[in-house]
Amino acid sequence: MRIVVTVKLVPDLNAEKRIDPTTKRLVRTGMETVLNPYDEYALEAALQLKAKQGDDTTVTLLSMASESLKETLRKALAMGADDAVVLSDDALAGSDVAMTSAALAQALKKIGFDLVICGGLADDGSTGGVPGAIAEHLGLPGLTNARHLEIVGGTIKAQRETDSGYQAVTCPLPALVSVTMAVGEPRYASLKGIMGAKKKTIATLSGSDIGFENRAPKTELLSFAPPPARTKARIVEASDGATGARAIFDFLRERKLV
């Protein structure tokens, strides 16, 4: 059984980010790139399934990214994925949700799979739209927001998180699921995993390899702006706790917050 985990490579959360005003794209040079943290949960879910399914189950990573970033996937290979495929093409740079999901769907067809697992969100784009769109492109059942997965025969059973609890759902394989952080903390890579990872393959596919050419994004970014600078906090000097509490209370009451 083949599980494919989609992985986005994103700028380190703590890195100072800059957007190029002409391309309106994030400047990625000189910035540390990491695995999208949500996709680490997807990988964790895949590795848990692999452990239960046994050795003939493989976990393949699929990432649409610049080829120069592909070594970032080594960490996911060290965590236990078997191999990786990078979909890399200059024509794919600046893709939106529609184009990304169409390209990934096309690549998935080429690679072959029984189950696709996605993270719930990308740390940089934050649309959360890609998993559902891939499922749609491939005509697959899409189980989103899963917090627990189990493969039973030719079906997958999932618990879907909702605001009030969870739903138990099931569908036949092949299928696509996206997971929440409740699937379990992503494991640490082990030293043996790290040392074994360098021998694992990271294959590259181009747009023409998967028959995905001459497409354009459907959405256009019109403008962007940094978050407004925060106004200076008001600091209340209080002689003792009670006076301080009074000042805070008055402040809140003035705004009808208490």
Binding site: G30, R74, K75, A78, Y188, S190, L191, I194, K198
Partner: protein, 391 residues
């Protein structure tokens, strides 16, 4: 000429670029584990004087126990990857690094280097997984710097060995399943693999330490302990047996000490930039800058030294005296950095709210074990003059 980027205060000389991807991944993994598992708890462990035994399993899962050894479930990593791991562990706490050093570089290394095939199979895989913990008994109450004088004796009784004696200051003793015991046998110093549960073997933990509190330090008392003939480490004879192990452990702690120092420097730097006195951050005062810069210089030089020795070790040409050079220098400068950082933090520096005094106190032990400053000075003195000042 292209314009150079402004140096990163936390990696001023871009030493990161001297590491391979695999080494960086190893470092980042250990750092993440320390961040998640050690940092939230360490002040409490230190105060309570405990180190949870289950950490050994987690360290085993990560593959850090005996990571530099090959076969028998060990990862077989390079010297620099091993050093970086020690650095990250000790950036958390010297006690956690000590657990790993004693397990991997002393106990497992002794079996791996000097043991029989049967001994290796019996002990190494489980020790690598952290399921069994080892300790290394060389020092005695009356013989520390001069282990050659040890009083612990091993004598024959039929085909068995009977061991009598007391070992002192033994890291991991109280949590150990197995002890490597060095003893005077009729033909000189010999090592024995002794399960701690055998009759006549008592362990007393040393309480009231003010250093390395998140580490178990014990006295091992062996009275008439009987072990079979194959408990002896066959190929080790004389003091070179334990010294080869010490050399491995010293290599780890010349890296580790830079981890403790790095935490102290980073804490002091951060504090100096935010603590305001006389209406400005104290980091703006010349005297504080002098302290911070002195820390930066020694930290970067010491780390470079560690890396240089690591590359030499990987090529296979590292002499024990060169390891002494690293141990002497790096632990000394780490202590200086810790003390200076402590001063920068003022009163905050004496509390466990900040990691600095914990590291500072820990480094007193690190300075003493694996050869004191004086001992390494004499080793280096002998290496350059050809004259021994020991006896």
């Amino acid at each position: 000429m292209t314009e150079a980027a402004a140096p990163d205060p936390l990696d001023f000389l871009v030493l990161d670029a001297l590491l391979s991807d695999e080494e960086r991944l190893t470092r980042d993994t250990v750092r993440a584990w320390v961040r998640d598992r050690v940092l939230p708890e360490i002040a409490r462990w230190f105060e309570a004087g405990i180190l949870p035994k289950e950490l050994a399993r987690e360290l085993g899962d990560l593959g850090l126990l005996g990571m530099q050894l090959t076969g028998y479930g060990c990862a077989g990593s390079g010297a620099v990857a091993y050093g970086l791991s020690c650095m990250e562990l000790e950036a958390g706490d010297s006690g956690v690094r000590s657990l790993v050093s004693v397990q991997g570089s002393l106990a497992m290394h002794a079996i791996h280097r000097w043991g029989s095939e049967a001994q290796k199979r019996e002990w190494l895989p489980q020790m690598a997984r952290g399921e069994r913990i080892g300790c290394f008994g060389l020092s005695e109450p009356d013989f520390g710097s001069n282990p050659a004088g040890m009083r612990t004796r091993a004598r024959r009784d039929g085909s068995d060995w009977i061991i009598d004696g007391t070992k002192m200051w033994i890291t991991n003793g109280g949590i150990a399943d197995v002890a490597i015991i060095w003893a005077q046998a009729p033909d000189g110093i010999r090592g024995f693999v002794v399960p701690t549960g055998v009759p006549g073997f008592t362990i007393n933990d040393i309480e009231r330490k003010l250093s390395l509190r998140a580490s178990v330090t014990s006295e091992l008392v062996l009275s008439g302990v009987r072990v079979p003939t194959d408990a002896m480490l066959e190929s080790a004879s004389g003091l070179s047996g334990p010294l080869a192990c010490l050399c491995e452990a010293r290599f780890g702690l010349l890296w580790g000490s830079m981890g403790a120092a790095r935490t102290c420097y980073e804490t002091a730097l951060q504090y100096a930039k935010t603590r305001v006195q006389f209406d400005r951050p104290i980091g703006g005062f010349q005297l504080i800058q002098q302290r911070l810069v002195a820390m930066l210089l020694e930290l970067q030089k010491g780390t470079l030294l560690a890396l240089h020795l690591g590359r030499m070790k990987e090529k296979g040409g590292l002499h024990p005296a060169q390891v002494s050079f690293g141990k002497l220098n790096n632990v000394r400068v780490a202590l200086d950095i810790a003390r200076s950082a402590r001063a920068v933090l003022g009163a905050s520096g004496v509390t466990l709210e900040y990691p600095v005094i914990r590291h500072m106190n820990n480094l007193e032990s690190v300075s003493t074990y694996e050869g004191t400053e004086e001992v390494h000075t004499l080793i280096l003195g002998q290496a350059i003059t050809g004259l021994s000042a020991f006896d």
